[in-house]
């Protein structure tokens, strides 16, 4: 399934690029992320608990950052597997300066397997969009929070 979209982060492109690759930040923003541990350069082991309505599932997987082209572009690859299936996301993030911050454009694909693919078909698109939205919304809050605290300091 193809996905694409755009979000505005209220920070400079340099900051946006750093934030988007900061494991601590990612751990807080990735929906359901419980732990994120570095296993190699630009590669992390992740445990997450996906919750959607009454559905929930534990996933064990990896987050990888590839093809970095500071500060304009990189690929974010997420994959995880659990009892209810597995999922993989591969997105190219492109950062462009914009009014009020940095435009983050993503373009990629999501692949889902197992029970969730076989019985949740009608909700995959909605769910993927919702998770991405949650990710950026959280990121925004985090960014705003850190901007506020750094402003104070």
């Amino acid at each position: 399934m193809k996905i694409s979209g755009e979000y505005l982060l209220p920070v400079s492109r340099d900051d946006a690029y750093t934030i988007l690759q900061d494991p601590a930040m990612l751990a807080r923003a990735i929906p359901g992320c419980e732990t994120l541990e570095k296993i190699a350069d630009n590669e992390y082991h992740m445990k997450m608990k996906m919750v959607l309505a009454s559905m929930s599932g534990l996933f064990d997987g990896k987050v990888r950052i590839a093809d970095p082209n500071p500060v304009s572009q990189f690929r974010l690859i997420v994959d995880g597997a659990g009892k209810i299936g597995f999922m993989k996301g591969d997105g190219l993030l492109t950062l462009t300066p914009a009014d009020g911050g940095t435009n983050v454009h993503y373009d990629g694909s999501v692949e889902v397997g197992g029970t969730i693919a076989g019985v949740g078909q009608r909700l995959l698109d909605t769910t993927a969009k919702m998770l991405i939205k949650r990710f950026f919304t959280k990121l925004n809050t985090e960014v705003a929070g850190s901007a506020a605290s750094s402003g104070k300091g």
Partner: protein
């Protein structure tokens, strides 16, 4: 297909229910029409269920000073067939008749359905068009939220942890109101590809009030306010429905692309309005 083990409690009062869900991670079981299939597929694995089925006084359907009060555990079948609703809020009865099938309507409840907030459920379109209100209660609070502020995103509502839907409040129809619910169902699931609920009031040959609720198109049901405004200011049906879904991020799945869904929402909106207009005159 076997659910995973869980603890089960069947409280017999609302107070007891609220106490139970205030402490710990317990999942409410109403009709179970969405939850139990998910549990059987082990996509949902709650540790503990609190069954609302034995709580008395939650399935009332009464009218009080122009408002219908519908208890959270009133079933879709109750709502579809109860004379008071058929007579005083036929749009809601019509929407209810489109949910699932008769066996599902016999078990499924209005509270359970709206709390679940499936993006393709039927009630939200009708409740938005009716400008319904939803009463939410927790151990420490009791509040009323308009439907338009209740449905936030796919499977996401204004419900706070520990809160439950206890009642849905809809205005009883003033009389010469036209209504219709037009649904394009998925041939397998029966869920709305799109569903449009319309309400029309006329005065002096003009549309004095238009309300349009749309479900299935995006992540949450919404009101087509621009179309409502255009209709109320004398624009043609075609002009009005052309704005339905504008700016909405439409869903896409195997059966219907976002583009087709948006188109279908407009066609169905027009048809719903045509029927509503006819009924209003």
């Amino acid at each position: 297909m076997i659910p995973r083990e869980f603890d089960y409690e069947a409280p017999t009062s609302l107070q007891e229910t609220l106490q139970l869900i205030a402490s710990g991670e317990r999942k409410l079981l109403a009709g179970g029409m969405s939850l139990i299939p998910m549990m059987k597929l082990r996509l949902a694995t709650p540790d503990s269920l609190v069954d609302l089925g034995r709580v008395p006084g939650l399935n009332h359907i009464v009218e009080s000073s122009g408002t219908l009060q519908i208890g959270a555990t009133a079933t879709h079948h109750d709502i579809e067939t109860f004379p008071l609703i058929r007579g005083r809020c036929p749009l809601l009865a019509e929407a209810a008749s489109h949910i699932g099938d008769v066996q599902v309507r016999n078990r499924g409840t209005i509270g359970g359905s709206i709390a679940h907030a499936d993006p393709a459920a039927d009630y939200p379109a009708a409740l938005l068009a009716l400008e319904a209100q939803i009463r939410l209660v927790s151990a420490s609070s009791d509040r009323i939220v308009p439907a338009v502020e209740f449905f936030l995103d796919a499977f996401t509502t204004a419900l706070e942890p520990g809160e439950i839907v206890v009642e849905v409040l809809v205005p009883a129809e003033p009389g010469a109101e036209g209504y219709s619910y037009e649904k394009a169902p998925h041939p397998a699931s029966g869920f709305a590809i799109v569903g449009v609920a319309a309400r029309i009031q006329r005065s002096g040959g003009k549309i004095s009030l238009a309300r349009i609720g749309v479900t299935g198109l995006g992540a949450r049901a919404f009101r087509a306010m621009e179309a409502e405004r255009l209709l109320e200011s004398g624009s043609s049906l075609d002009q009005a429905v052309a704005t339905v879904g504008e700016g909405e991020d439409a869903n896409s799945d195997l059966y219907a692309s976002a583009e087709y869904r948006k188109h279908l929402a407009r066609v169905r909106a027009k048809r719903a309005l045509e029927v509503a207009l006819r009924r209003a005159s």
